[in-house]
Structure formats: structure tokens, C-alpha cells
Amino acid sequence: MMFDRLAGRLAALTCLLIALPAAAQNLSVDINQGVSRPLPIAVPEFATQNSVSTAAGTTAQLGAQVAEVISNDLESSGLFNPIDPLAFTTDVTFPDVTAPRYASWRTVNAQALVTGFVNANANGEITVGCYLYDVFSETTLVRQGFSTDASAWRRAAHKCADAVYSRLTGETGYFDSRVVYVSETGPATSRIKRLAIMDQDGANHRFLTNGQNLVLTPRFAPNQQTVAYLSYAQNRPRIYIYDIASGSQRLIGDFPNMSFAPRFSPDGSTLVFSQARAGNTDIYKMNVNGGNVVRLTSGPGIDTAPSYSPDGRRIVFESDRGGTQQLYVMNADGSGQQRISFGEGARYGTPVWSPRGDLIAFTKIGGGKFRIGVMRPDGSGERLLTDAWQDEGPTWSPNGRVIMFFRSRRGGGADLHSVDLTGINERRIPTPLEGSDPAWSPLRP
């Protein structure tokens, strides 16, 4: 697989690079503040030592495209303000990549500078060099290289953007990741829904199912090779697992009634899900082959939408056992069930545990609206991040700093959006058709 090669090459290349001195402390981005003035950063076209053709265009063309992808990634985080290349006073030649002309970058008020190169290798691969400089202290902050098939050049660009983001924020990045979601089209009464997958920036979009069967709630396996989802194949709503590489789908578990709302355990061995029996919905878990089914909740309420904590020891879910839909946390064996949401007059659903473990994202229903919010796992510190008519179904970026969700419009239709934890940086995610039920992958290896 190309991904494995990228990972392998990344490791190899990283070893070749010279260790950097301890970073200058004066250039950093505080991710926890609402950033009113994003960091001005220059991302000029990546140079090439010798422009040659590759399967994806010349290395000179790729150099321009890589810089554009990096710039878009950084801008989309809301933490960076890439400077318009039209303002640049200098080009970056191949020698400039490692010896930037700091003075000319200071004249355009760039505080940080990303340079790099795209070179073709003898085996059809490319190497993308990625450098980050502090323009005012004239220090090198990032020096990395990534080799990959030329066709996967976008991944090398995302890896570079992640390195820059990580170095300046102190957080891991999230740009080299994907999203699986439900693509929607047609009237509400006969909506056609298809599984689709794309990069987090909307590129490399691909449909996984053909729309013949209604599909809902896709969820990535931790290894990103498979997706658990609900399909109405044969008009029986049940959980299936889709293999992304092969395109094969298999039914998981054989239950007389509806089984739905699947999510993987962090180690990928277990699916937690809901099953209805005689009109009553409870939470169960089973191994990913459908065996060893264990019931975790009981009683007459609706218990659904379970999500594991990243350490696999607890599960957050929603239940209407107390009269209205609220959030509860339990141990992974079903013991110690405890309500955590208490908003007055409000209902809560679709809880999802952050990959950092520190927060739970949810949909809050109240005042005629659905809004996306977060709270700590003990229910304290509730904050709402969006305010539209109907926002639903949060999913976390791999670093736990951004939430993607879907926004329905009054009268019909839905689109994907993202918002960061400050609630300030909200964006629409481009999709070819309408979309819902996004699920963000972990960072790709």
C-alpha cells in the first residue's frame, strides 16, 4: 500500500534530517484563545531542484500545488493567516529553501515562513521537503521530508501542514486525515443516501455505496481500514462493516430486530451498539466478528448512541430512562451508570468522547434548535459551540480540537460543517452533493 510506503519513507527520511536546536520560544500560537489575529504566515510555492515529469504533473507544478494545500490547511484552522502570494517580494529558489531571505519576508510582515521543495526520485516517487522558519528570530523550527508516490502528493502536503501546526501550537495536527460520511440527494420523502469518503479538506472524494440501500451513521475503525455503519439492505436495518480497500461489506451479528448505532472500541476489537427488542432499545457490545454479545443496559428506556472513552474503560450514551433524552456515562462492562447532562428543559443526544479524553461533544435539543456543544465527562463545563436551526451529529478531529457535524436546513437538506473548540472558526465542508453523519478518521500513519 502507498500509505505504508509513505509511513516507512517518512521514518527513514526523518532519520536523515539533522536534529533541530531547541525551538525559539517567542513564536507560538495559543490554541485555547479565540484567535482574533491569526498568525501571519508565508507559504511560497515549493521549489524543485530540477523540474521533471511525474505521474501527477511536473515537480514544479506539484511545488505550487503543495504550497496551496498547506496554505489552505493552515488557514482552515483559523489560527493562521496565510499572506497573499501576490504580496511576496521574492521567489524561493531551490537554494533559498534552506537559506531563506528573512529580510524580504519581514517586509511582508510574515512572522512564520514555510518553504520546501518537490523532487522526483528515480523510482517514480517524489520527496517533499518541508521547512518552517521564525522570520524575526531567524531560526529553523521544522525540517522534515516525506517520500511518496507522486499521486499521493496531497498527503505529503498535509503531513507538512501538520508539522507546521504541531510545531507552532504544541498540539498534534489533524490535516492528514479523512472523513467518511453519508452523501444525500433527492426529496426528503425518498432521499438517496450513499456512504462516501474524502480527505478532511474535501479532496479525493469517492462514493463507497451506490444508494440502493439506505445507509446511516458510518464510523471509522481505529485502523481506518474499515467502517461500521447501518444499512437497510433487505429492508432490515442492521450493522455492517465496509472494507475500504476491497469494497466488500459484511453483516455483523444476526439479531431478530434492528441493530444500529455502532462504534468501535479504541483497540478496534469490539463494537458497541444498540439493539431493539420488543420496542425497547438497549446497548450491547460484541466482538467485530459478531460473536460474544454482551448486554450493557436494561430497563424500559431508549439507550443508544454509545461512544467509548479513548482509554476504552468507559462508555458515554444517551437514554430517556429519566423521562427525557439525556447523557449518561457507564463503565465498559455496563456498571456504574450515571447521568451527566442536566440542562434545564433541554434534551441531549449523540454524545462522542474526544480522542483526548477531556471532553464529550453532543447535540443539545432545546428552544426549537439542535446545537453542538461540549462538556467534561463529569458533566461540568458545558459550552455550546454552534447556533443554527438544526446542528447534529458531532465527530472529533484526530487531535480533539475541531468538531465536524451536519447542519440541516428548515424544509430539507443538510451539509457538513466544522467548528473549533473556541466556537469562532466555523466552516462549511465542501461536498459534491449534500451530506450528513460525518465521521473523522484518526490521523493517518
Binding site: 426529496p187 426528503a188 420523502t189 425518498s190 432521499r191 443516501k193 439506505l214 446511516l216 451513521t217 447501518l230 429492508n235 432490515r236 436495518p237 430486530n257 434492528m258 444500529f260 448505532a261 444498540s274 431493539a276 420488543a278 420496542g279 425497547n280 432499545t281 431508549i302 443508544t304 448512541a305 444517551e318 430517556d320 433524552q325 443526544g349 449523540t350 447535540t363 435539543i365 439542535f370 438544526q390 447534529e392 451529529g393 440541516s408 428548515r410 424544509g411 430539507g412 453523519d437
Partner: protein
Amino acid sequence: MKGAFSKSLAVGLLITAAACSKNEEELPPPPPPQQPTETPAPPPTPAPSSSVSNTVVPGSIEDFKRQAGSDRVFFAYDSSSLDAEGRDTLDRQAAWLQQYSNVSITVEGHADERGTREYNLALGERRANAAATYLQQQGVPAGRITTVSYGKERPAVEGSSESAYAQNRRAVTVLSGAAAS
């Protein structure tokens, strides 16, 4: 054509009612059959509506809907309780289903859009189960009944109005093995 027929009938009734309220003692002669000018000439197709009912095939889906009054029952917001009207409909559905014992049914449960995806799937299941259980209690064998929930995925009516929501919170009895109509 059926629409035009109903309209002219309604116009006639309205005129009669208006005449009655004006003067109960001096009843005018019954109005001549009204033929509103916008009504097109009767087409060559058959079917005055009175004879249509005679053409419904006994044991067909159309017959089921006529005899039961409806193929569906409705629910209040976030509720799966059957109201009196719903129970009446299900009583008639059960009577019909006992008459046609070769027909099996799927009860589809649905929710309006004011709930989250997974919750509505469970709520639709509750509604389907409420209707199915009631039909069983009225004598329809459990073996002839299956249930399925569509949550908020298959509204009967588009839109985000209260009236649309009221029609979308439903359990629909879908026949299989019914006579062709």
C-alpha cells in the same frame, strides 16, 4: 375527473344549505344540477365514483385502506402511545387482517425530524411495536407481523411545519401477500 365531480357536488350542497338558512318556510325548488363553467366535459372514461367502490378487489391493499379507514396511525411528539382514533383504526385493520389470513404485514415506525438520528430510530421502533402489539392483542397472530423503524429517514410529507410533523409521526401497516387490485 373525480375531482371535478366532487367539486360540482359540493357546489350543489353549498347552494342548498345557503337557501335553507335564508328561508326555511319557503323552500325554493331544488336547484338544477350545477355545471360550473370551468368543469370540463365528462371524459369517455368510465367511473362515476359510486361504481368505483364496486371495483375494489376484496383482499387488496385498496380494500384494506377502505375497510380500516387508513393504513396508518399517528402519535404525539416524542410519544409512542396510541390514541382513541389510532386504536379504532387498528381495530378495523385487525378485523380485516383476520378476514384475510394469508396476508402478512410489516409495521413501519416513523418519527418527525425533531429528534436526533439514533434516538429517532429507537422511537420509530417503539411506535411500530406499539401498533404491532395492539394488532396482536386484537387477534392478529404475531407470526404474521414484522416491524421496522425508519426513524426520521422517510417522512410522509416534506417540510418543517407542525402539520408536516404530525403526519410524519406515524406507524404504517404495509401488506404483503394481498390480492392484486
